[in-house]
């Protein structure tokens, strides 16, 4: 049970003046249950990459395998793939359209051809998973706040019970509180259900706290693919492509330069605190 990308490349508008290679020879293995952060600057190809994972875009070169089957084989069931690999787009609240929140979340499972009862049970469970209170269920989705709308949209994908959940910039345009709430909710969801989560972002700070693996993309290629600590060691190279390591990494590096014997492989504030206290001998 995994997704494998084998020499995948994607060229937009091939053969015209606007030809643009968004992905160049990508090789990836995404095993079950991993929490992955996909990071890259705007235009690095990360959104293009995730749209390949559920077959919305077909690669112009290479193959993609889901559980061992090529997803672009003519007899492959794409609809089922899309229910197994749930993709939440950037600003997902822009896709809401139904008269009330509950009906909107039902849209996904209904398209899978499930019974009315099963559809509604899934919708209810999904709305609970994203932490939306019952009182909002029968309101128009357009009357909710930005953060609530986004939860509803994420629930719309969760209701299809995906095995892999891809979130494209789920925190874009949210305030710090809304951002933490959404990310905490996703982390909790992953803990409870054990699904694979791919978090697309351009902010290291966002993902450092949660993920077990970071894939850094630059100009359509994979630059680093490792655990967070190892990736952040390259903080100077990351800066050169318009990214940055979390602020604590910089603090630890600076402290070490000043002569404090601290561990610089630190990614979260909590770890930093214990490391500094330890170095000070307290």
């Amino acid at each position: 049970m995994s997704i494998i990308l084998d020499h995948v490349s994607h060229i937009y508008e091939a053969g015209t003046a606007m030809e643009f290679a968004a992905l160049k020879d990508i090789n990836l293995v995404i095993p079950d249950g991993q929490f992955i952060g996909l990071i890259g600057h705007t235009g690095s190809g990360k959104s293009t990459l995730v749209q390949h994972l559920n077959g919305l875009l077909a690669p112009t070169g290479g193959n993609i395998y889901y559980n061992g089957a090529d997803i672009h084989d003519s007899d492959f069931n794409k609809k089922e793939l899309r229910s197994k690999v749930g993709l939440v787009f950037q600003y997902p609240e822009h896709q809401l359209f139904e008269i009330d929140v509950f009906t909107d979340v039902c849209f996904g499972p209904k398209n899978l051809g499930l019974s009315k009862k099963e559809t509604e049970l899934r919708a209810y469970a999904a709305l609970k998973q994203v932490g939306l209170e019952d009182e909002y269920f029968y309101q128009s989705p357009f009357d909710l706040s930005g953060g609530q709308k986004r939860r509803v949209a994420i629930a719309g994908v969760l209701a299809m019970k995906p095995e892999v959940l891809i979130l494209d910039e789920p925190t874009a345009g949210l305030d710090p509180k809304g951002r933490d709430e959404i990310l905490d909710q996703v982390a909790k969801l992953r803990e409870e259900t054990g699904i694979t989560v791919i978090l697309v972002s351009h902010s290291m700070e966002d993902v450092a706290k949660y993920v077990d693996r970071i894939i850094v993309m630059n100009k359509g290629q994979i630059m680093y693919d490792d655990e967070p600590k190892a990736v952040f060691r390259h903080y100077k190279e990351l800066e050169s492509v318009g990214l940055a390591a979390p602020s604590v990494t910089y603090i630890m590096q600076a402290l070490k330069k000043k002569g404090l014997p601290v561990d610089t492989d630190i990614t979260t504030i909590k770890e930093a605190k214990t490391a500094i206290l330890k170095a000070l001998g307290r």
């Binding site: 919305l56 899309r82 229910s83 997902p92 822009h94 809401l96 359209f97 849209f107 398209n111």
Partner: protein, 267 residues
């Protein structure tokens, strides 16, 4: 799939045609269209074709782009040709069952086809070499005299440029929403007509909402910058004729004269 629409698409390059004043290009296109309807013999169309080829060559836009725009009108072209071919009365040439092809029919049908192709290509040359902003500037300037009879020329031009600007934005938005709904299991392709129409609801509702939201944002941004219509507004880059524009006008007048003489009077 939606990327194939070339309507109003601008091809970025540097050529004599690109540098011409947009007013010249607009007037030339109008004259060219008129010339296509004045001439009614082959000599006239050969001249029109040569003129078009020369302009395309000068514009440095690959010929492929012109052809791409033609795909949209293939159907229209076929209908026009078929109707003219079979329904023109005159000297019969071939009779298939109840349909008769006449000498006059062939003549009319082929003229119609050539006219349509030249017409589309001629106007594509203009849109491919002129940015939408420049084009609306030209329209505003050319319609300027109508202000005297209280025609809101500036407002019309502003509406046109906003509409043109929104075409690619809304296309992109449609593409995005479509993908988002497909990711939620929506199906836009299979089923009968009623089912297909129903499946458009999840696409159209978000699209309309997004269009209104964008319109609202734009209105707000314009107001924040104290936009209040055309009175006393100046331009950052006012249109000004240069020598090459005068030369272009002279060429166009010559072309029109040749067209009228060869295509109308001589034969």
């Amino acid at each position: 799939m939606l990327r194939d629409i070339t309507l109003g698409q601008y091809y970025q390059t540097d050529s004599v045609i690109h540098r011409l004043d947009p007013r010249v290009k607009l007037v030339t296109t109008l004259c060219y269209i008129i010339s296509l309807f004045i001439v009614d013999n082959w000599i006239g169309y050969v001249i029109a074709g040569l003129f078009l080829l020369a302009v395309i060559k000068l514009s440095k836009v690959p010929f492929k782009f012109m052809i791409r725009g033609m795909k949209a009108i293939v159907f229209l072209l076929l209908i026009a040709v078929v109707f003219n071919l079979f329904l023109t009365p005159g000297e019969p040439l071939v009779t298939l069952w109840k349909l008769t092809i006449t000498r006059e029919g062939i003549r009319l049908a082929s003229f119609m086809a050539v006219r349509l192709v030249f017409l589309i290509m001629g106007s594509s040359v203009m849109t491919l070499t002129t940015t939408p902003n420049n084009l609306t500037d030209a329209i505003e300037k050319l319609l300027g005299p109508l202000k005297v009879i209280k025609v809101p020329v500036h407002e019309i031009a502003m509406m046109m440029s906003i509409a043109l600007r929104f075409i690619p934005i809304l296309l992109e938005e449609t593409d995005k929403i479509m993908k988002a709904q497909i990711a939620r299991g929506a199906d836009f392709e299979s089923g009968n007509l009623i089912k297909k129409a129903k499946s458009l609801v999840p696409l159209l509702v978000p699209l309309f909402i997004s269009a209104f939201r964008r319109a609202n944002d734009l209105a707000m941004a314009m107001e924040a910058r104290c936009y209040r219509g055309g009175e006393h507004r100046t331009k950052m880059k006012p249109l000004a004729y240069r020598k090459r524009d005068a030369i272009a006008y002279i060429i166009v007048v010559c072309y029109l004269a040749v067209c009228i003489v060869c295509g109308k009077i001589l034969w």
